[in-house]
């Protein structure tokens, strides 16, 4: 293996020039990439009666198979269901220990779907950028870019993306779309919000909904817990919940307020913007290699044994 100094610097120069040409550097300090005026939905769990009309509307609007036992409001609730590759949203029933005046347990119903995080972990994780957060606030999925690595599913703190595990060739990640093509139009609503008979689902600008939620809590402090779920969880979500029972009891997990992508993106960008650290390491190792080679050559010359 031959190696000479001129060649070494030539390569190092080329590497430096290459790194200077690379597009935008990562930000030094992490910044939220949340859209400035996103839409949102507010789910009021005290209003939901578990009619499951939202499941039906969702399936219809998104060309999904009709929900399992659509009219049923009893046996279907025996299982705790999750959104899956056939349903973007499901309603579950929880008995949290609340009793009515006749001492009968009172159920709480909770709809679950993609929360459309302000800084989504899935979007940050996606290897090809198949998942994006658009201006409306919707987290959108582009199947044509997807390679099926399922890192989005690993990353999601709400355990939402589902996978078509039984499709051998063209499986897709399936999750609530926030009906982005509908809400992008003036006056458009997501399928589920159009049909809710009790107005448990309110659609609007996230900022407006947040004040609506806080007003409801303020006006009825005896009914609601003083917590808008989704205001601060993982940096905020487009879908938010208010409730009279603790959120963990209806399978809305306790989460930190730090946006999920913050740590990994900060590490990645501080190490690899302009590829500075790999280039520095290359230079350092190259210098060490030279040093040893020269030492060896010198030793050989002294020994008179080339």
């Amino acid at each position: 293996m031959e190696l000479d100094r001129r060649q070494f610097f030539k390569v190092m120069g080329a590497a430096g020039a290459f790194s200077a040409m690379l597009p935008s550097p990562g930000r030094a300090a992490w910044e939220s990439k949340a859209p400035p005026d996103a839409f949102g939905c507010l789910v009021d769990l005290t209003r939901c009666v578990g009619c499951r009309k939202c499941e039906e509307a969702c399936a219809q609007v998104n060309d999904l198979p009709a929900p399992e036992r659509p009219g049923c409001q009893c046996t279907v609730f025996e299982d705790d269901r999750r959104p899956d590759h056939k349903a973007y949203t499901v309603v579950n029933r929880y008995f949290t220990g609340k009793k009515d005046s006749f001492d009968k347990p009172v159920p709480t119903f909770a709809k679950v779907q993609c929360m459309h995080c302000q800084d989504p972990a899935c979007v940050s994780a996606c290897i090809v950028g198949a998942l994006t957060k658009d201006e409306t606030g919707a987290v959108r999925y582009d199947a044509s870019k997807c390679i099926g690595c399922r890192y989005c599913m690993v990353a999601c703190p709400f355990e939402i993306p589902a996978y078509e595990y039984h499709d051998p060739i063209m499986p897709r990640v399936m999750k609530c779309t926030f009906c982005y093509d509908r809400i992008a139009k003036d006056g458009g609503l997501p399928g589920c919000a159009t049909i809710c008979p009790t107005e448990a689902i309110a659609f609007g600008k996230r900022k407006t909904l947040l004040s609506v939620a806080k007003k409801r809590i303020k006006d009825n402090p005896a009914v609601y817990l003083d917590h808008v779920y989704g205001e601060k969880e993982v940096g905020g979500t487009s879908w938010m919940y208010i409730s009279s029972v603790p959120f963990q009891q209806v399978n809305l997990p306790a989460l930190p307020e730090t946006p999920s992508p913050r740590l990994s993106e900060t590490i990645q960008h501080s190490l690899f913007s302009y590829l500075w650290s790999p280039i520095a390491l290359f230079g350092l190792l190259g210098a060490i290699m030279f040093k040893h080679r020269e030492d060896k050559d010198e030793a050989n010359e002294k020994g008179g044994n080339p």
Binding site: V11, A125, P278, K296
Partner: protein
């Protein structure tokens, strides 16, 4: 002692066993590509990554670290005495990464789309960086391996039958390639080390995006550094492990002297990893979990005690460092510890916050993994039989 092709019988009973695993694995792979991932695996929406990612990919990458660590030692830091171990380590690395990619092809849902990250970039994604590094590094490894092929066949290319017409062309490729590479090989050697440092650490960053899903014993901002240090620490033990296995299987000289010199570095490297691991636990106060008796905590304890502390203590003793069985045992513990660490981070330590994400790999998943490992060993054997990889001159007759 120059490397030489082994002059041994290829078809031994062990090779037939490998072949059985390969066939079983191949059948499972066919099932996966007809019925889907769900048909052969226990993966669910709550548990999207399992044995294939945890073992075939993450562990495979870690155990291939022998390639860049020995290359750095012998070629960059000028310890030429170790050159005899660089070739087997390089072969293992090249094979290891090839099988990481094959494992990925089985695991990702749209295998045919594996090229897409080259076109659609998401520079926020840790996985994107890992994928790019692995892809480039795999090519670097093939380039580094090229001179070994050239050395064996240059001047005596003799392709069978109708391919004989290509003999001249193959000769030209071998000699021109070899001549060019001998001038610029240093670039690839350094590049290999740089790329390895990048993606070995980034494999650890993968789980940082899911703070609520990975058990706090493993979830730490130091995870990338831990992955890098453990990969560097496992490099030489892996070389010891596989060289001892290969030399005893082929009844060659065990090279105890060189291996016991090599493993001396591990005392420092593994010590560094141990200090970081224990220190991180102390700083974050996660030691409070240690005695809670859950299977996750117990897995962590086994990993730390049997995979890090015990072999480190063993290697402190010069007597053990000089014995073939001693270094093999210590090396095997370290390798096992790193394997367990990767399994813990990607499988055992992972929990789904809402549904019951309990997971144990299916038979199909095991068959694919075993099949891949068997194929890797099969090709390793093929390569050392016909290419100058192992130092072959000093054969022990028994």
């Amino acid at each position: 002692m120059t490397p030489a092709p082994l002059n041994k019988k290829f078809w031994t009973p062990g090779v037939w066993v490998m072949l059985c695993f390969m066939i079983a694995g191949a059948i499972t792979v066919i099932a996966r590509f007809t019925g889907g991932i769900g048909y052969v695996s226990n993966l669910t929406n709550a548990r999207p990554w399992g044995l294939w990612v945890g073992v075939d990919v993450a562990t495979g990458v870690a155990l291939a670290a022998g390639g860049f660590t020995t290359a750095a030692l012998a070629h960059i830091f000028g310890r030429h005495a170790y050159e005899s171990v660089t070739r087997p380590a390089l072969l293992t690395a090249a094979l290891g990464y090839t099988f990481v990619v094959l494992g990925l092809l089985v695991d990702i849902g749209r295998s045919w789309a594996i090229w897409k990250p080259m076109v659609y970039w998401n520079t926020n994604s840790v996985l994107f960086e890992v994928a790019m590094c692995v892809m480039v590094y795999l090519n670097v490894l093939y380039i580094e391996f090229f001179p070994i092929v050239a050395e064996q066949f240059k001047g005596r290319v003799n392709l069978p039958g109708p391919l004989a017409g290509l003999n001249g062309l193959a000769e030209v490729i071998l000699s021109v390639g070899d001549a060019i590479l001998s001038k610029i090989m240093w670039i690839f050697i350094i590049l290999g080390v740089v790329l390895s440092c990048m993606h070995q650490s980034s494999l650890g960053s993968l789980m940082l995006v899911a703070p609520t899903k990975l058990h706090p014993l493993w979830y730490t901002p130091m995870l990338p550094l831990m992955f890098l240090l453990s990969a560097i620490a496992v490099g030489y033990p892996m070389v010891v492990f596989e060289t001892t296995l290969a030399t005893s299987s082929f009844k060659l000289d065990g090279e105890v002297k060189i291996l016991s010199c090599l493993i001396r570095n591990t005392v420092f490297l593994l010590g560094l990893y141990m200090v970081l691991k224990v220190g991180d636990m102390a700083v974050r106060g996660t030691w409070t979990y240690l005695l809670d008796g859950t299977y996750q905590t117990n897995a962590f304890l086994v990993e730390l005690v049997c995979g890090v502390i015990l072999p480190w203590l063993l290697l402190l003793s010069p007597k053990i460092r000089q014995s073939r069985a001693g270094i093999f045992f210590a090396a095997a513990l370290i390798v096992g510890g790193v394997v367990l660490n990767r399994i813990n981070v990607f499988i055992t330590g992972f929990s789904s916050p809402i549904s019951d994400g309990s997971y144990f790999p299916s038979v199909g998943e095991f068959l694919v993994t075993f099949g891949l490992v068997a194929t890797l060993m099969f090709i390793y054997r093929l390569a050392v039989t016909f290419l100058p990889v192992l130092p072959g001159a000093k054969e022990v007759n028994s």
